[in-house]
Amino acid sequence: MVNAQRLMLSSRDNEASGLWSFTRGYVMAGKSGKGQYLGAAEYRQGARERIGEAFTLLRSEQFSGSVYMAGRGVEGMLRAVVWKNDPEIRQGKKSLDTGHDLRNLLTLVGNLGLLQAGGRDDEFVSNVQKVGRLWFNNMRFASNKFVEIRWRTIGEIDHRRTLKRAASDYYEACSAVIKRCEVLCQP
C-alpha cells in the first residue's frame, strides 16, 4: 500500500522536470531551443493514436498497457476539446491547470457548455468519471499485477469479474469518450 500511495502521489513528476508543461499546453523541444507547441490538433491526434494502441494491446491481452494507453487517450481528447473551445487557454490568458485529473478536465468541458442536457451526454459524463476512477497518471510505471491489485482493492474486479473483463469494459468507456470528443472537435 505504501508503494501504491507513492505511485499515486507523484503524478506531477514529469512537469517538475521542466521539459513538459501540460498545464500550459506546450512542450519545449530540448536541444534545438525551438518551441514545439502542443495544441488542440496535437492533443487530438495523439489521443487517437493512444486509443488505437490500446486496442492492439487489449487484443493481445496486455491489459495494463492497454488500460494506460486508453486512459491517456481520454486525457488527450479532453484537452483537445478544451483547447479548441476556450480562447483564453489558446491565448495563454488561462492555463490548462488540471494536472492529469480527468474529472477536472470533465468539469472544464462542462463549463464550456458543450455537453447536451436531457440525457444525451449523461453516458459521456458517467464514462469519464469511470475512467477517472480507474486510471491514474503513474499507471505508465505500473505492472499488470499492480493494476490488478489496485482494481481489486477498489472493487472493480473480484473473484467473478476478471481483469480481462474489466479491461474490456474500460476500453469501451474510453473509446466512447474519445469518439464523442472527436465529434466535438469537428469543424
Partner: protein, 91 residues
C-alpha cells in the same frame, strides 16, 4: 514507402465490411491514413467488435503492412456521429 489512397481505403472497407451508406472522414496522419467511418452497419456492435472488423479487413487486403498504411479509424453509427447536428437542427 508504400501508401494507400483514400479512395482505395474506402473501397476496401466498404466492400469487405458490406458497409451500408458509409461516410468516410479521412485525413493524413504522418504517412498513414486515419479518420472516422460512419455507417449503420456498426449498429449493435461494441467498439472492440468494430475495430476487429476493420483490422481483419485491412489485414486481409494489405497483409501485415496494413499497420504501416493505416492509423486509427474510429467507427460510428449515424446516430453517434450526428448528435450535434441533430441538436443544431432542433434549434
Amino acid at each position: 514507402m508504400s501508401t494507400v489512397t483514400k479512395k482505395k481505403l474506402q473501397d476496401v472497407l466498404t466492400t469487405k465490411l458490406n458497409l451500408v451508406d458509409a461516410r468516410f472522414v479521412l485525413e493524413k496522419a504522418g504517412a498513414k491514413l486515419s479518420g472516422n467511418i460512419i455507417s449503420a452497419t456498426f449498429s449493435g456492435k461494441d467498439d472492440q467488435q468494430r475495430q476487429r472488423m476493420i483490422w481483419d479487413a485491412l489485414e486481409d487486403e494489405f497483409g501485415a503492412q496494413c499497420v504501416h498504411l493505416v492509423g486509427t479509424l474510429l467507427a460510428y453509427t449515424p446516430e453517434e456521429w450526428g448528435v450535434n447536428l441533430e441538436a443544431t437542427s432542433k434549434k
